[in-house]
């Protein structure tokens, strides 16, 4: 119990200290990291709780981003309305996608989300009148309220951090709630949950819609961060990137996806500075980490902390005891 609170406090301290100590670029990197942490959280909610590997979470972010761009730039609607409508529309599309995918399992689900994601990507590319096609929609800006320009990197950081932390805390509560346990139960043994009288399909569906809505929030931030909405964030590359980050960090834990995103972005930034072969270096790192840490970074760290904090417990249990 206490351990978890300490980790959360330490993380919050880092998040507060970051903009005070770091340069502009590091802060903008942190903004991107948090946006993708939300996308990876959305992915992990399904992968970690239900064993559903989705390739369309970035699509929800994209739908939300396009809604913001179209309503904000083309129609000039005010910011709060734009964001509300974007989240509503994203949730609505998650409802539709959810109805289509709720009965599917494992590979079937993966393929369905792949197909849906690619359809929306193709649509964004070819429905030129609405989406601007390949060129996209430029000029997406945050408003200025009371002399505070939300486009400024550090102001934007405060906003993104607050929302991201709030969502992570909410999901943390959710994972420990009866609903979260039900999801885990469904993944473990669906028949038993059904026999116990739980609404299995409804639970899956709700989780899918919730994950879609979280991705929608990521999409809102993504488009304001970029200033332009184009089909590229909806492409398969980005979906796979999010999957990679979640697997690297550990999609079963709450903070794993965020950790994976942070590590991947840091790696990309650092390695790209020195060589054009950065994709190879990153690929190698991924290969090794997945071979050595199949359950992800977060899991490895967790095991470490457990051993350190409970030396007596591990000494008494014979199964765990490599060292006292």
């Amino acid at each position: 119990m206490k351990r978890e609170y300490l980790i959360i406090l330490a993380l919050l301290a880092v998040l507060v200290a970051w903009p005070l100590l770091m340069g502009n670029y590091a802060v903008s990197q942190a903004n991107r990291a948090m946006i993708y942490a939300l996308a990876a959280l959305s992915f992990s909610l399904l992968a970690g709780r239900l064993g559903w590997f989705s390739l369309c979470q970035t699509t929800f972010a994209g739908i939300s981003g396009y809604t913001v761009a179209i309503l904000g730039v083309r129609f000039g609607l005010p910011f709060p309305l734009v964001v509300t409508l974007a989240l509503l529309l994203t949730t609505l599309s998650a409802v539709i996608f959810g109805l289509l995918t709720v009965r599917s399992r494992k590979v079937g689900f993966l393929m369905l989300t792949l197909a849906l994601g690619q359809m929306v990507w193709a649509l964004s590319f070819q429905w030129v009148d609405v989406t601007g096609g390949y060129n996209g929609i430029a000029g997406v800006r945050m408003p200025v309220y009371g002399g505070i320009d939300f486009n400024a990197t550090r102001v934007f950081y405060v906003l993104v951090t607050t929302v991201t932390v709030a969502i992570f805390l909410a999901v943390w509560r959710l994972y420990r709630s009866p609903f979260g346990l039900l999801l885990l139960g469904i993944q473990e043994n669906e028949q038993r949950m059904r026999a116990l009288g739980h609404p299995v399909a409804l639970a899956r569906f709700s989780a899918f819609v919730l994950a879609g809505a979280i991705a929608g929030v990521a999409g809102v931030f993504l488009v304001y961060d970029m200033g332009i909405m184009s089909p590229s964030p909806l492409g398969l590359g980005h979906a796979v990137w999010v999957l990679t980050a979640a697997v690297l960090g550990g999609y079963r834990s709450l903070l794993g996806p965020a950790l994976g995103v942070a590590v991947l972005i840091t790696l990309e930034t650092l390695v790209a500075q020195y060589t054009d072969r950065h994709m190879m270096v990153i690929g190698l790192v991924l290969l090794l980490s997945i071979l050595l840490m199949p359950r992800g970074l977060a899991d490895v760290l967790e095991q470490r902390f457990k051993r350190k904090s409970k030396p007596q417990a591990s000494a008494t249990t014979t199964t765990q005891g490599e060292e006292p």
Partner: protein, 415 residues
């Protein structure tokens, strides 16, 4: 409690490392060059990089005098990565001027960023016309072209010199080909053409049999696209024997030198238009080509992205010199006043909107010294991004799209 300590020490040291990376002495000028040096479009980014490297070698003394450093960044051909690298340039690496991006989408993302940042930017090969038209920014100029720019002249040439009246166009369904066709139509109709029928196909199409089997009749066919789609179309067009009925014309990148060996002898005589040609015979071009070959080996032909990178870099160095340093306003003013009487592609200057006014070459594929290359057979001088139109009138019109401008030259739009 131990882990809490580890956490705190860990995070503090991470912050410290990050903070030191930010400190840099600043009496040097820095140019950041961005392009896709990895990924599917790495060819274009590599070309730009080679062009810039050549310019760096030629201008080495002037770079020393200016205390100027150059840093290369990889956009991966992705809009988001482009914006991220641009941010790194500005706030991490203290770059004073950006050369690039290279591709269409990354160019627009770069423009959007440059508007917010105010960074002097010389867009190299990226061709969306709005970069220097409807969305133009004071601090962004272009060393290259717009999609429509070479096609005004090509449309005129096809109608006037070749006498084709009705054209069938098959093209890749996205904004660059729309813009190319827009330019073509405006030039073609003004020069007495009759109509252009459009057939768009999604990018990545490899089988054109359904299109070719139901092709409408016309005097010539314009393939408005490039790359692997263009190659596949070229082969199937000849397999179907349609080349005997309708000659094949190309969009600006269709007969790209990299694809010519695969097209083979059937490509000879193929016509297209660009502000560049690897078969140019001018002294400045030959000097550029030979220096390029001496540096990078003669199996690599310098193409437009290389020349545009080379020229963009020269524009940047000239601007720093006439601004006497890195003062933003002075650099931007100098960039906007750019005149390049001796660019390898031919002389050019920037118009009021920051895009080159330059020669457009009608190129024919010919075999020269055992290589297939594009040789200019006609030159249209001083063509601006607005073609034969007044800037104001052009900007008042709709931007080119999937079905604009109208395909029939009898449409009132052309009056």
């Amino acid at each position: 409690m131990k882990y809490a300590k580890t956490l705190i020490i860990g995070s503090v040291s991470a912050l410290a490392v990050g903070a030191t990376a930010h400190l840099q002495a600043d009496d040097t000028l820095r140019i950041g060059v961005i392009g896709p040096t990895t990924g599917v479009f790495s060819f274009f980014g590599e070309q730009q990089r080679m062009g810039v490297e050549l310019a760096m070698e030629e201008l080495a003394e002037r770079l020393d005098a200016l205390n100027l450093e150059v840093e290369f960044y990889d956009s991966q051909g992705d809009a988001e990565t482009t914006v991220d690298r641009l941010r790194a340039m500005e706030s991490r690496d203290n770059v004073d001027l950006v050369v690039g991006p290279v591709l269409g989408g990354t160019g627009l993302a770069g423009l959007e960023w440059a508007k917010g940042s105010g960074m002097p930017t010389v867009i190299s090969y990226s061709a969306p016309e709005d970069i220097t038209m409807r969305d133009r920014a004071e601090n962004v100029v272009r060393a290259g072209w717009t999609g429509a720019q070479p096609m005004f002249a090509f449309g005129e040439y096809v109608a006037e010199e070749l006498g084709h009246q009705r054209i069938v166009m098959v093209g890749q369904d996205y904004s660059f080909p729309y813009n190319q066709l827009g330019g073509f139509l405006k030039g073609f109709c003004a020069a007495g053409g009759e109509s252009v029928e459009r057939i768009w196909h999604p990018t990545g199409t490899s089988d054109y049999s359904s299109i070719l089997a139901t092709l409408p009749d016309g005097d010539a066919l314009l393939y408005n696209g490039a790359g692997s789609d263009g190659l596949a179309f070229f082969q199937q067009y000849h397999d179907f024997g349609i080349d005997a009925r309708m000659p094949l014309l190309g969009g600006s990148n269709f007969f790209a030198v990299g694809d010519l060996p695969e097209m083979g002898e059937q490509a000879i005589g193929g016509l297209s238009a660009l502000q560049y040609a690897e078969g140019l015979e001018s002294d400045t071009f030959l000097a550029f080509r030979d220096a390029f070959w001496a540096m990078h080996g003669d199996e690599v032909m310098p193409l437009a992205p290389a020349e545009h990178g080379y020229v963009a870099f020269k524009m940047a160095v000239d601007a720093f010199e006439s601004a006497n340093g890195g003062d933003r306003d002075a650099v931007i003013a100098a960039l906007r006043a750019t005149e390049m009487p001796d660019a390898p592609r031919g002389p050019f200057h920037l118009d009021d909107y920051g895009n080159p006014v330059q020669n457009i070459y009608i190129n024919e594929v010919q075999e020269v010294d055992g290589r297939l290359v594009n040789v200019p057979i006609k030159t249209y001088e001083s063509v601006s991004q607005f073609g034969p139109f007044e800037a104001e009138a052009y900007l008042a019109g709709e931007p080119d799209s999937r079905d604009f401008p109208p395909g029939s030259c009898a449409d009132p739009y052309y009056d």
